[in-house]
Each structure stands twice: as C-alpha cells, then as structure tokens.
C-alpha cells in the first residue's frame, strides 16, 4: 500500500456514514438526505458495508497493481449499481414525479474509488496499446451499465429519458464544436508554426497576439465576435448561406478556434526548433530538399510536441464548448444552463457528466497515442 492509496481509503471507509442518496418529491423540490440504511434497507446496507470492507481489505493487502486496479474498478461498478438499486427502491410505489439522486456518501465513495483506479493503473506502467485497451474497456463497462437499465430509476437518467432526442443532438453539436474547431486550428496552426520557424522576426509578434487572445475571458470573446459575425452574415450572402450568424454556433466555433491556436502554434514552433542541429545539418548535407526535410525529418521529430498541444486543446475545447450554450451554440452546456435556470440539479449533471467523461477519455486516448509515436523515449 502506498501513500496515495492510504489517503483515499479513509474517505472511502467513512462514506457509509454520509447520506447515500437524496430524495425529492419532484425534480425541483428541496432534497432530503437518505442514509445508506434508508436507501438500501437494513439487509442491503449491511451487505454493502460488508462488501466495502472486503474490498478495502483487498486494496490494503494486495501487493500487485493489477489486482488493485481490478478491485478498485469493481468497487466503482458496485457503487454505481448500489445507487441504481437505491433509486429503484426509493421510487417504488411513489408518484412518478418523485426523484432519487446521488447523495454526498455516494459521491465521496465514487470519487475515492475512481481515484484509486487511476492511482493503481498509473502504477501498472502500461504500454500505449494497453492504455488504449483500458480506455476501451472502461467505456464499454460504462455503456453496458447505462444500457442495462440498472440506473434507469436514477434522477439523472430520468432527466435523460425526458430529453433523449435532444441529448444526442446536443452531444453531436458539442463534439462538432470541440473537434471541428480543433481540426480547423490544426489545419491553420501547424502551417503557421512552420512559417514562424522560417520567418523568425514574425514569431514574437504573432505569438504575442495569440497569447493576448488566450487571456480574453471566454464570455467576452463570444461577445466580441457577435458584432463582426453579424456584419458578415448581413453582407456576405455565401457566409449567410453557410449558417454564419452573429449568435449561435459560428461565434462559439470561432472563439474555440482562436483559443486553440496558441498551444498549437507555440508547440509547433517549439517542436521544430527542438530538432537537433546536427540532424538538420545532416539532412541538408544528404541533399534533402526543404520540403523533403520538413515532411520526413522536421515534422516527424516535432510530432510528439505537436500532439501534446492537440491533447491540451481538445480537453480545453470540450470543456469550453459548454459555455457556448449561453450564446445559442448548443452542446451539453444547454442542459447545464437550463438546469441552472430551473434549479434542477439533475439536469445540470446531465450536461456536466458527459462533458467530463468525454474530456477524460479524449485525454487518455491522446496520451496513449503520444506514447506510440516513433522517436519518443520509452
């Protein structure tokens, strides 16, 4: 057992003392806490506490990181299933507007167990391909739990049930905003970075400008883009036909694009200038043309640095796309802001949880990809 594990065991062990679930008479009513015993019944609670104790014991005693990873993952699944069971029990026989959601005890247990998985997995030092496989397995398990209906009585899933069509539409919009603006920024930023390594004098002003853009708060940038885009929409028929308007997806897309540029351009410049001088000199001396040197030597060697920028930008965009909902851009942020407006916590979570999961999975996949690039120190 290491320090990280020890630190997480304590909240995990104490979590049954906190209310496991919250009960609401309807979706915006005040939440009433429900203890573990109230949520699962006396027998269920005893079983849950015994199971938790057994798993904590296994985590403390297990020497191998593989075992700890599997036990902690099983614990996460068990906590989720217990929540689903509690929701089913507490809503049973009640009126349909009754909502049962996760309580403080659930969150403490889930976050502790989740961090235990992350901690144990990090100690496995898995190879990149193995890391991708772990992400795939985690996604598959999560999907299976949601699909099985085990959580169907949970308040968040009921919010989903009422909005399943718009959920997937906003999800697609969210992905398009985050990944589309990222792709556009890669297409513009990598060539710009390459250009800056050749025109050194332009490098400082351009990077300065991009840094300045980065410091503008996202709401302010959305606002600043409304006027010029509205003008373009009014005066350029082609732009109007493409759906460009002062509000909506266009300013959000443009803002995310602008925020993405700095990390991509800066890392492209750093990656390219980091290619050892002896290597570029050898490439020139062998008779590679400028373009051949760029495509077969410079860019491949700079790729790990450029892909780390891609990872930063994607995670940043997935989070920031949420704010775009405020100017009508859509995305998961729609549910967050609707939920805030209605004081419906579950609706906020319906927007926030997929965003977090998406960012987490994207980051893990790109981390693994960086490890797979040739020339990376292994």
């Amino acid at each position: 057992m290491n320090g990280g594990t020890r630190l997480l065991i304590l909240p995990l062990a104490l979590s049954p003392l906190l209310p496991f679930a919250v009960f609401r008479a309807n979706r915006i009513a005040e939440a009433e806490p429900r203890s573990l015993v109230a949520a699962l019944g006396g027998g269920g609670a005893a079983l849950a506490v015994a199971g938790l104790a057994a798993m904590i014991g296994a985590l403390v005693l297990a020497r191998r990181a593989q075992v700890r990873t599997v036990v902690a993952a099983a614990l996460v699944v068990a906590i989720l299933l217990a929540m689903g069971w509690a929701a089913a029990r507490l809503t049973a026989g009640g009126p349909p507007q009754v909502r049962v959601g996760p309580g403080a005890g659930f969150w403490v247990a889930l976050v502790s167990a989740g961090l235990l998985v992350v901690d144990a997995r990090a100690r496995l030092h898995p190879r990149p391909a193995m890391r991708l496989a772990i992400v795939a397995v985690a996604v598959a398990i999560g999907a299976a739990i949601l699909w099985s209906g085990a959580l169907s009585q949970l308040s968040i899933m009921q919010e989903y049930g009422n909005r399943s069509a718009s959920f997937w539409r906003e999800g697609a919009r969210h992905l398009w905003l985050a990944f589309g603006s990222f792709a556009a920024a890669m297409l513009a930023g990598v060539p710009l970075g390459i250009g800056l390594t050749r025109a050194r004098r332009a490098s400082a002003p351009v990077l300065g400008l991009l840094t300045m853009l980065q410091t503008i708060p996202s709401m302010a940038l959305f606002g600043m883009l409304i006027a010029p885009l509205a003008w373009i929409a009014a005066n350029v028929p082609a732009a109007h036909a493409l759906g460009i308007r002062g509000i909506g997806a266009a300013p959000a897309f443009a803002a995310l694009f602008l925020y993405s540029l700095l990390p991509i351009v800066a890392n492209t410049v750093v990656g390219l200038t980091g290619v050892p001088r002896s290597v570029t000199e050898a490439a020139d001396g062998m008779g590679l043309t400028r373009r051949q040197r760029l495509t077969s030597v410079d860019v491949p060697l700079a790729l790990p640095v450029i892909v780390s920028a891609a990872r930063i930008v994607l995670v940043q965009n997935i989070g920031m796309a949420t704010v775009g909902a405020l100017i009508g851009a859509g995305g998961f942020g729609t549910f967050v802001f609707q939920g805030i407006g209605q004081t419906a916590t579950d609706l906020i979570l319906l927007g926030a949880l997929p965003t977090v999961a998406l960012a987490f999975a994207t980051s893990a996949v790109l981390d693994a990809l960086i490890g797979m690039l040739p020339g990376t120190a292994r």
Partner: protein, 319 residues
C-alpha cells in the same frame, strides 16, 4: 579532382575564409587542420554548398558546382559530421538508405546496397540494421554515419571532425577503418580536423588553416620537415616532431637482411619480430622500452630484417 579557386566567404563583414586555392587529386585524402574559428568547417561546407561562397569558384572534375542545383550536388557528395547527425526516428538501415531512397533506387537494390555497406563497415546487418540510433554505441553510430555518406558511391566524401565525439581507443579503430575503406573504394576525401596527429595519420596532403587563410598545403613529411610558418610549427608541437616524422614510414624500410654473413643478430634473437606495418616511431619506442639496440621486423613478403637504433635516430632527422 576538386579545385578551389580563390574561395572567399564573408559573414556580416567578417572574413571567415580568405582567398583559398587548393587542388585535391582524385582518390587522395586532403586533411584540413586548424584551430577553432580558422574557417576550416566553413571551407568544407562551401564544397557541398551548405554555405555559398562570397567569391571564388569550386570545381569538381572541371565542372563548376554553382551550376548544379544544391540538393542534386549534395546527393553526389558524401557528408559525415561530428555528432553523426543520424535521423533519430529511423533505424540504422533506413538511415543508410537515405540518399538511395531520395534517388528512387528500386527497393531490392537499396536493400542489397545497405547490407553491402554494413558488412564493409563491420556492422551486422541483421543485428544493427533494425536498431534506432539511440540504441547504438558511439562507434557504431559513427560507422552508420560513414555508411550513409558512402551509400551511392560518391566520388567525394566530406568529413567534418568525424571522429571528434569518439573516445581515443575507438577513434584509432575508426581512423584505421576509414583508411582501409578509402583505399578500397578510391574515394577522394576532404577531412576537417583540429588534431594534427589525425591529419598526419590520414592525410595524403595537409592544409593548415589560420584566420581564414591556408598557411601551408603539403604532404605530411614536408609539413613536419619544413613547417612554412611558426603557426604550423606550433600546431605540430616542437616536442615530438621527430616522432611524428618517424611515424610516417614503416620500420621495414630500414631493415638490413638477416641470416648467414650478416653476423649474429645483436638484439634478442628469441623476441618475435615486429609486424610488417610497424612504423619507425613504434620500433624506436619498442627499443627504448625493452632496452635493446636492435629489433627484428617482419616484411610483407615474409622475409625478416633487423633495424638498428642508430639508423632509426638518423632517419628521424629530415635531410
């Protein structure tokens, strides 16, 4: 044949190379020696046009290099640099194949050529070929760099401090390998070094550079016997110039025949003879160390001979 005609290079008003004219004959090794900042690397890099001369011309076999597009020119000229400059994301074999691939050789031909080169440089193609540069030792990386430079049988090989990053034992081995490969292929070589001993060992002719000018361009024996300027003499080091001179010739040149009529061998008759390649300097060192005044030397044709200390000492002073 490489001809440099009044080649000059200015960098922002500073004259790095000043009116240098040199001719390097086909199949010979020209060593360019100088302290750092003498302009020797700049001179070398003007030959493959990594640097364009401010004025003057460089001719290869009579053709002006300025008339050929630089990438085409460079593919015909081998280039080896100090830190080997291997492409870190490519295997050793792929590195060696760089120029053949640029020239679009057929795959099978590239593969055969890479094996041939690796075998010539004593690198096992099946073991070393698939390795990445960071998995190679310094000596192996250096040989891969030489193999890469020789891939398309260039008539001219440029080497910029090629052995500078190697430790002394491996360096001596690498120098011997280069001499062997150069003799076998008949490649013309221009070698830049700051090490006079290396220039004497490898060069057919040595150009000594200082402050952008060539102070002397002559055969090693002439450089040692008659340094043209005090700077050349300094670079040689007065302390061991006799030994340097003796290191140029094989001891067998001074051997007197053994056998009946030659009298009893004055040295220890039981000691094994020195090998045919032993230089006069090594033979003298052997005598000093063992306290003998004669040593036996084997000749390449299998006969033997005796070399006396007096003859060696006399040979150490140029007439």
């Amino acid at each position: 044949m490489i001809e440099l005609q009044s080649v000059t290079k200015d960098f922002a008003g500073v004259r790095a190379v000043n009116d240098v004219s040199l001719t390097v004959e086909q199949g010979t090794v020209a060593a360019v020696v100088g302290t750092s900042g003498s302009g020797k690397s700049t001179l070398l890099r003007m030959v493959n046009r990594l640097i364009e001369p401010t004025s003057g011309r460089i001719l290869i076999d009579g053709a002006d290099t300025a008339g050929v597009p630089a990438p085409d020119l460079r593919r015909r000229i081998g280039y080896v640099i100090q830190d080997h400059g291997l492409f870190p994301h490519w295997s050793a074999a792929r590195n060696i194949a760089t120029v053949p691939v640029l020239l679009r050789w057929p795959r099978a031909q590239v593969r055969t050529r890479v094996r041939e080169l690796m075998e010539m440089l004593q690198l096992d193609p099946d073991v070393i070929g698939p390795r990445l540069p960071h998995e190679l030792s310094g000596g192996q990386a250096q040989r891969v760099g030489v193999a890469r430079a020789l891939a398309v049988r260039p008539e001219l090989l440029l080497m910029d401090e090629p052995f500078g990053a190697l430790d002394p034992v491996i360096r001596a081995q690498a120098q011997a390998d280069l001499a062997r490969v150069q003799k076998r292929l008949g490649t013309t070589v221009i070698l830049v070094t700051h090490d006079m001993a290396e220039a004497i060992r490898l060069g057919d002719r040595i150009a000594v550079m200082r402050a952008g000018r060539v102070e002397q361009f002559a055969a090693p024996a002439d450089i040692i016997a008659r340094p043209a300027t005090p700077f050349v003499a300094d670079l040689l080091g007065e302390g061991d110039r006799a030994f340097r001179y003796l290191s140029l010739r094989p001891a067998a040149d001074l051997a007197r025949p053994e056998g009946p009529g030659a009298g009893p061998a004055a040295g220890d008759a039981d000691a094994p003879p020195l090998s045919p390649g032993t230089t006069m300097a090594e033979a003298l060192s052997e005598m000093i160390w063992t306290g003998r005044d004669h040593v036996r030397v084997a000749r390449a044709d299998g006969t033997g001979g005796t070399v006396s200390r007096d003859d060696l000492i006399r040979a150490g002073r140029p007439e």
